[in-house]
């Protein structure tokens, strides 16, 4: 294993310290671990907080800043953070506008964020959890933990962060987050495996001439293992899986402020269709040169144009990664005026910046 790290137990701490040194606009706490904006926010503003296992940088810590997240809780590598992290982070961040946790759909993240939300709501800090589950590689939600949360997370954090900055209250932020999630679909692929520092060896074995289609952001197995092929064919596979994904319904849990407990809500994602306009993300998995991502974007653009689907906005780069995995993912989020307005709003974070 060749990585630019020091002692394995210090990996996350030192990365956070590096971020702090480079970006005076953020603040970090090490016990428990979280990253928050250095300057206080307006009273009454909803605190938008995300988090999850580390190894997906710049997500989430790199998205803390004006117009996006208020704070992020990094767990150990590929391991959900713990409820005390979110709890302390939320207490230090919230400013009487309540807290919105943006949670990727992994069993560990769901449970840890739920416990934190329960603790905060019990103390009278209104807290809502919205789940992101956009990975079409997982088809079946009845017999699995459901679709994983992947690329849509980046786009959702940007949009909901901007809405909170613009004055949306907790309910409106939650509604917008739910809407963006219902309009997002992603699919990824891996050329190589990633190596978790503590493990020191690849998460999975893959031959020099094989690739994994439908892989998750922790190297979870995908839909199929095939022979390595061209960027165009790979992009076609990912894009087709997204565009041909049918209407998709699942039950997700949210906090009910009236019942003071969790309630189950059905959420349906409508299949994409010709005429839709999209925010597109062509994402690198951590060790993919940006030049190769542009090759993927070229084909994505061609396929969508042929189907009369407009890529109204785009992001090409490594935003939600899997350590040093080589590969890419494609995300499309069906936009509307509200979504585009908040996408275009200014953002100033270590990982995403425009308009300011």
């Amino acid at each position: 294993m060749k990585k630019l790290i020091n002692k394995i137990p210090d990996v996350i701490t030192e990365q956070m310290q590096g971020m702090l040194a480079a970006h005076p606009e953020i603040e970090i706490s090490l016990e428990p671990k979280y990253i928050k904006r250095a300057s206080a926010t307006r009273k009454g503003k909803v605190a938008i907080i995300s988090g999850g296992g580390s190894g997906h940088e710049p997500m989430h810590g790199g998205f803390v800043g004006t117009g996006m997240l208020d704070a992020a809780c990094p767990g150990e590598v590929f391991t959900s953070p713990t409820p005390d992290q979110m709890y302390e982070c939320a207490k230090a961040t919230q400013n009487e506008g309540g807290v919105l946790f943006l949670v990727k759909n992994y069993t560990g993240d769901i449970m840890n964020f739920e416990m934190a939300a329960e603790m905060l709501n019990a103390e009278g800090i209104q807290t809502q959890n919205i789940i992101i589950d956009d990975d079409v590689a997982v088809k079946d939600s009845l017999y699995t933990a459901g679709r994983r949360g992947v690329g849509t997370t980046v786009i959702l954090e940007k949009i909901v962060g901007a809405a909170a900055e613009a004055g949306y209250d907790l309910n409106k932020c939650a509604d917008l987050a739910r809407k963006v999630n219902s309009r997002g679909r992603s699919m990824g692929m891996a050329l190589t495996s990633c190596i978790v520092p503590a493990a020191g060896k690849p998460n999975f074995d893959i031959d020099e001439d094989e690739i994994e289609i439908g892989v998750g952001i922790h190297g979870e197995p995908g839909r199929k293992r095939i022979s390595h092929t061209t960027a165009d064919e790979i992009t076609q596979m990912l894009t087709t899986a997204i565009l041909e994904d049918k209407d998709y319904s699942r039950i997700l849990r949210e906090w009910s402020f009236s019942n003071n407990g969790w309630e189950e809500k059905e959420l349906t994602s409508d299949a994409f269709k010709s005429g839709d306009q999209m925010i597109a993300l062509v994402n690198g998995m951590g060790s993919t040169p940006i030049s190769e991502l542009y090759t993927v974007y070229r084909k994505l653009h061609e396929i969508c144009s042929a189907k009369k689907i407009t890529l109204a906005r785009n992001l090409v780069g490594s935003y939600i990664t899997a350590l040093d995995m080589q590969g890419c993912s494609v995300t499309l989020v069906r936009a509307d005026d509200e979504i585009l307005k908040f996408w275009d709003a200014p953002v100033l974070t270590p990982g995403l910046r425009w308009g300011v």
Binding site: P32, G53, G75, E76, V77, F78, T79, S80, P81, T82, P83, D84, Q85, Y106, T107, G108, M111, N112, E114, M115, V138, D140, Y143, T144, A145, R148, V196, A198, A199, N203, G216, H218, G219, E220, P221
Partner: protein, 215 residues
Amino acid sequence: METIKQAQVINWLEKTAHVIGENKDYLTKLDSDIGDADHGFNMERGFNKVLEKINELAASEDLQAVLKNTGMTLLSSIGGASGPLYGSFFLQAALPLEGKTELTVEDLANSFGKGVDGIKARGRASKGEKTMIDTLEPAIDALLLSVKNKDSIETALSNMLAAAEEGMKFTIDMIATKGRASYLGDRSIGHQDPGATSSFLILKTLKESIIQPNS
């Protein structure tokens, strides 16, 4: 022997930390087959924290406090799926133990029963989904039977562990429908669940902390 003493509970927790440490690579290997290869690291991180606190834990006679503190410690250090689950187990297991400084078989059955309920509520899973529940639920059923049969603590723990082991082994043939392993579908068959295995190790250590080998 009529009851499990506070010192034995402390001894159990301490020993568990060592046993988990010794089995770290084994648990991680199991998790690498059907998960994300971190269960050993997660459990070790959690129980090392328990170990760091062992004197603080030992200082409290109140077993409710001991289990609650253990639960909070695991909750705030394991992370992942197993953190809230083992955290909930100990936090819930503490509930029936108000004022207790030693445990009968019945106390243990009640306590662990609540603990497993905590896991099931938090993880929204039930037996047969290839999780730690497949080890723990049969173990509690065995304890409850021992309560009915008025078994000695030794017998109760031996039966508990046998049931736990059998439950753990049943996970080999199951399809996972909860947690990360569920993404594998059929391909999860043939592998023993890591969480079921760590649960078995915890119960095995309990038995061995109470019943000295060759005694």
